[in-house]
């Protein structure tokens, strides 16, 4: 038996590619959720109002300290008992989005903390409402240095999507397992999936580094 059956690999490529679209879609949608939700969580955590900051902190720390797998199990199996029914894909996107929102909230927090106090004071002195203040003054300064870490979390999310296979989301890893269990040849499908992630993460990491250079952060 030969080492790597190239014909077989070529044969299963289309199936893997179509599943990879799922993987990419989940990652991108999840990322959008994460960066929007994360911003609100960061602002909530930094709030002076204790009734907002303490619960937010607790939620962030709890979600960050517990496995994504259990969180998606929770969403997928618990919520239907309370009348909320979603497809596995929807649960997957929300689960991964909320999970990473908590990591990204911490990145935002670092970025917001790094904005000089004088800027916050100027915003108050000029009587700017919070929405305008954040949009025009604070966020543009806070966001530049944190773009590279955000890019790194995008890569991390991509590599975490296979976890969703546990709730039957048909992303690329699940597809590979299905193919393998039909033909009992696992080497080619799983190795190809590995290469898929490796290539994407190298390309994305390279793009993040280019971004860092362009923003003159290195």
């Amino acid at each position: 038996m030969n080492l790597f059956d190239w014909q077989y690999a070529w044969h299963i490529m289309p199936q893997l590619l179509s599943a990879s679209l799922n993987t990419l879609g989940i990652t991108l949608l999840g990322f959008v959720i994460a960066i929007v939700l994360g911003l609100f969580m960061a602002i909530g955590r930094r709030s002076k109002r204790v009734w907002l900051s303490w619960p937010t902190t607790l939620v962030i720390e709890f979600i960050r300290s517990t496995p994504l797998l259990i969180q998606v199990y929770f969403l997928y199996y618990v919520l239907p008992n309370y009348g909320v029914s979603m497809t596995a894909m929807q649960v997957g996107v929300i689960g991964i989005g909320v999970h990473y929102a908590c990591y990204i909230a911490e990145v935002y927090r670092g970025g917001l903390d790094a904005v000089p106090r004088a800027q916050w004071e100027a915003v108050t002195a000029l009587n700017m409402g919070p929405y305008i203040a954040y949009r025009n003054i604070i966020l543009p300064q806070a966001l530049r240095p944190i773009l590279p870490p955000l890019g790194n979390y995008l890569v991390a999310m991509l590599k975490d999507t296979p976890v969703l296979s546990a709730i039957t989301v048909v992303e690329i890893m699940q597809q590979a397992k299905n193919i393998g269990s039909e033909t009992f040849r696992y080497l080619e499908p799983i190795t190809m999936v590995g290469l898929f992630f490796l290539t994407l993460s190298i390309v994305l990491a390279y793009l993040v580094r280019r971004l860092e250079l362009r923003l003159e952060l290195r």
Partner: protein, 219 residues
């Protein structure tokens, strides 16, 4: 709820064991890979970079599945228990991230330490073992704690290669009793408690190892 706990605790015990042995492997792999990365011998450096990029760049689940499904088949024909696969996969995966932490930590040791060691005629190996590594390990504790907690959380994936850890037992119980809310809430709380224990343990370790390093200590 009382009948849920024993099985969940059994699973948590497996989780702890995998975390413990996986951490040991990760630390060893991190130190070796960091040294390899810094080595003047090119083949060793390339090997270390390849290891680091490969295990960081691919998904942990892919690595676990590869070890679990692919290795037993020809041409490798290596059959490993799911426990072994769990430890090897987690250890090597987190070790690759740990290598970067160690590299930074080793680099943070003051150059004067190397010079004093040369002046005292230490061999490179003894110098690393007695002078550089202890100081590097102390510097690595803070970023290392985050990695260990990552390792803990990642153990949940071994349930997908049929190892009876906390996540596996939770799923099992859910399918048997459908007390879904209680089971998964308990599981989440158990992971949370374990993560805080790691946090606490590492902070105590850091305090103990840096005794005497604090400014303005005892007279």
């Amino acid at each position: 709820m009382g009948d849920l706990l024993p099985l969940l605790l059994q699973g948590a015990w497996v989780t702890l064991q995998v975390t413990f042995w996986g951490s040991l492997l990760a630390i060893v792999a991190a130190i070796l890979a960091a040294l390899g990365r810094l080595s003047p011998w090119l083949p060793l450096r390339w090997f270390s970079v390849a290891y680091i990029e490969l295990f960081r760049g691919t998904s942990l689940l892919v690595q676990l599945f590869w070890l679990f499904f692919v290795l037993p088949l020809p041409p490798f024909n290596v059959e490993l228990s799911s426990f072994t696969v769990a430890i090897v996969g987690l250890g090597l995966h987190i070790g690759a991230y740990g290598a970067e932490v160690m590299r930074g930590a080793i680099g943070s040791v003051a150059k004067g330490q190397y010079e004093a060691s040369v002046a005292l005629n230490f061999s490179a190996f003894t110098r690393f073992r007695r002078i550089i590594l202890p100081q590097a390990l102390l510097a690595a504790i803070a970023p290392g704690t985050n990695l260990l907690i990552e390792l803990l959380k990642n153990t949940s994936l071994v349930s997908l290669i049929t190892l009876s850890d906390l996540s596996f037992r939770a799923r099992q119980l859910d399918q048997a009793t459908f007390e879904t809310l209680e089971i998964f809430t308990l599981a989440l709380i158990m992971y949370f408690v374990m993560a805080q224990a790691i946090n606490f343990g590492m902070r105590s370790l850091e305090r103990r190892l840096s005794r005497g390093r604090m400014r303005g200590g005892l007279s």
